[in-house]
Amino acid sequence: MHDGSGRILVQGLNKSFGPINAVQNLNFSVEPGSVTGFLGPNGSGKTTTLRMILGLISPTAGGAFINGQPFSRLPNPATVVGAVLDSQGFHPGQTARTHLRCYTAALNLPDQQADQVLELVGLSSAATRKTGGFSLGMRQRLALATALIGNPQILILDEPANGLDPEGIAWLRGFLKSFASTGRTALVSSHLLREMEHTVDNVVIVSRGQCVYNGDLDQLRAAQQSRVLVRTADPATLVEALRQSGLTAEYLPDGSLAVPGTDSKTVADLALGAGVAVHGMQEENLDLEQIFFQLTTGQYSGGAPQGPPQPPQGAAQWGPGGPQQPPQPGAPPPGTPPSPGVGQGYQQVYPQQDQNNQGGNGGYGGNA
């Protein structure tokens, strides 16, 4: 039996596929009544983790618990947790309705439940169409309907926004919010924070199979870091002056300096004091997406960790220390393609592809 709490607990979860450590010592919990985003670049171990929670993959070490029990001990599991892991899981010759009725039968539910979930996801008009002809968006909806058929207390979705048009994403957002508002639990993975930013209340951010942030999204947002970008004729002198005032600076590819944790007035005063001419100065606030990128960008770094993680002020809880990168002022601005050989920051972050993640696309903005 389970305790009915609607909590998901992941404890010391590890999974290796041969030499690949897909998930390493992952700890987090997902609470009922909220939508939790499970975020990380491609290959960071999200799908593997979700499948371990659902008892489909057995962990190398550690465990995952739903309502205080491993999945394999849940009686009638589909009435406790529904999941969409793959939007391809249909026999092409079955109609949406006959597909769903296989599961109403399996769960001993009345057959009308199939039509009810079809209506819920807006697929009623396609009930008698064969799934082989469904578009990706229709498949996502049918997969969601399948997950909901047992009226579960917990919903787990892996990259549900893939293949949905903006309207579909907005619909999903509303659906998830109302699902959670009834005290139920939603855990939703994505490789794009932007996609989930307005949907989720909490986030678990993973990188290279390790947790780099677990907590409230608003707190992460509040911890937005600012930095000053300054162009000067004599960077070396300015760096020395900054260092004496306890500030650090990084060279950017265009030759300017980035000074984190301060404001432009301080930098201007220091430059004046050091007699360095300033050609231009700009204050930059890191938005959520940039923080996400910096938290996870270390995934593709082959280099040594750059010191201990520095949590942004106000961040709720940081994952255990590890080789993942904390927000690094020297990291490239998001969206900028790596250009080897320019600036320290790039050389630190992109020296080589990590062997575990061959074929990775830099962990940003790629497709699932």
């Binding site: 593997t48 499948r51 659902l54 008892g55 489909l56 993959i57 057995s58 999945f71 394999s72 001990r73 849940l74 009686p75 009638n76 599991p77 589909a78 947790v81 529904g82 999941a83 892991l85 793959d86 391809q88 899981g89 249909f90 026999h91 092409p92 010759g93 079955q94 109609t95 006959t98 009725r101 296989c102 599961y103 039968a105 399996a106 769960l107 001993n108 399948t146 047992g150």
Partner: protein
């Protein structure tokens, strides 16, 4: 569990596979029954046996069974591999605890479909036999029932073996190719290689020979005794061997011995499928 079995029946009857594989079963059964008994009526044989009608219907029912079991094996093999192929395995396993319950439900549902196949085989082989030989071609009703029943058993066991094998290999392409390759090519190569060695007795214990023996080790002695009547003890071993070489089975091997051997194979594959699908990572 009842729900899971009902779900399996729905999966079967809302897709095409079960009747698509039943078509060749029906056609082959009918042709084997008809063609085989036509052979039985040939006047030359009639003369040899003193103008007597031969109960060749019994023999051709075993012939047709041994042709169509391969389709039963394919049906079973695609039961589980189809779920991996269409990626429905994930959802299926999410609705059942433990995973073995899914395999159990499939075993029960597919046993029922295999019964349909078996009955269809018996009926259509008999229909062919009636056309070719008339009602005299079947010996006594009890004999017809026994041979037909043995055929159904053989078909059910092949379906279960295929199901277990499919659950082990998960790939439908691999499962189909290996089964066809084994049944149609490999076993006859192995047994002919062994036949001239000291190992020749082993040939009767190979899966294909054992499954053929379930029906043929019943029908060939029946046929001989029907034809020879009181002269049965004088029928030479060569005559038996000749019949067995055409219709399957082997001289002196009891049909229930073949049944036990083949049921053993089916059990091993079902157990293997059970174990591997309980432990496997579903990715």
């Amino acid at each position: 569990m009842n729900g899971l079995i009902k779900a399996e029946f729905r999966k079967i009857f809302t897709t095409h596979l079960w009747w698509a594989l039943l078509i060749p079963v029906v056609v082959l059964s009918f042709l084997a029954g008809w063609g085989g008994t036509e052979f039985g009526q040939m006047s030359i044989i009639r003369q040899m046996t003193g103008g007597q009608d031969l109960p060749t219907g019994l023999l051709t029912m075993s012939l047709s069974t041994n042709y169509v079991t391969v389709f039963a094996a394919l049906l079973g093999a695609l039961a589980m591999t189809g779920e991996y192929r269409h990626k429905t395995a994930t959802t299926t396993f999410l609705t059942a605890n433990p995973r073995g319950a899914v395999l159990g439900a499939k075993l029960i549902a597919y046993t029922n479909i295999a019964l349909i196949y078996g009955i269809a085989n018996t009926l259509f082989a008999s229909l062919g036999g009636l056309l070719g030989a008339g009602s005299d071609g079947f010996g006594e009703f009890a004999q017809w029932l026994m041979v037909g029943g043995a055929g159904i058993l053989s078909i059910v066991l092949w379906t279960l073996l295929g199901l277990g094998f499919g659950a082990m290999v998960t790939s439908s392409v691999v499962a189909v190719l290996v089964l066809l390759g084994y049944v149609l090519v490999f076993e006859s190569l192995v047994s002919s290689a062994m036949s001239s060695s000291a190992m020749s007795w082993l040939g009767d214990y190979l899966p294909g020979a054992a499954s053929n023996g379930i029906v043929s080790n019943l029908s060939v002695p029946m046929f001989v005794s029907d034809v020879a009547g009181a002269r049965e003890p004088m029928v030479s071993e060569t005559a038996y061997r000749l019949l067995h070489s055409v219709f399957g089975g082997s001289y002196g091997f009891p049909w229930w011995g073949s049944l036990l051997v083949f049921a053993g194979y089916a059990a091993v594959f079902v157990a293997g499928g059970w174990l591997t699908s309980s432990k496997r990572d579903i990715t």
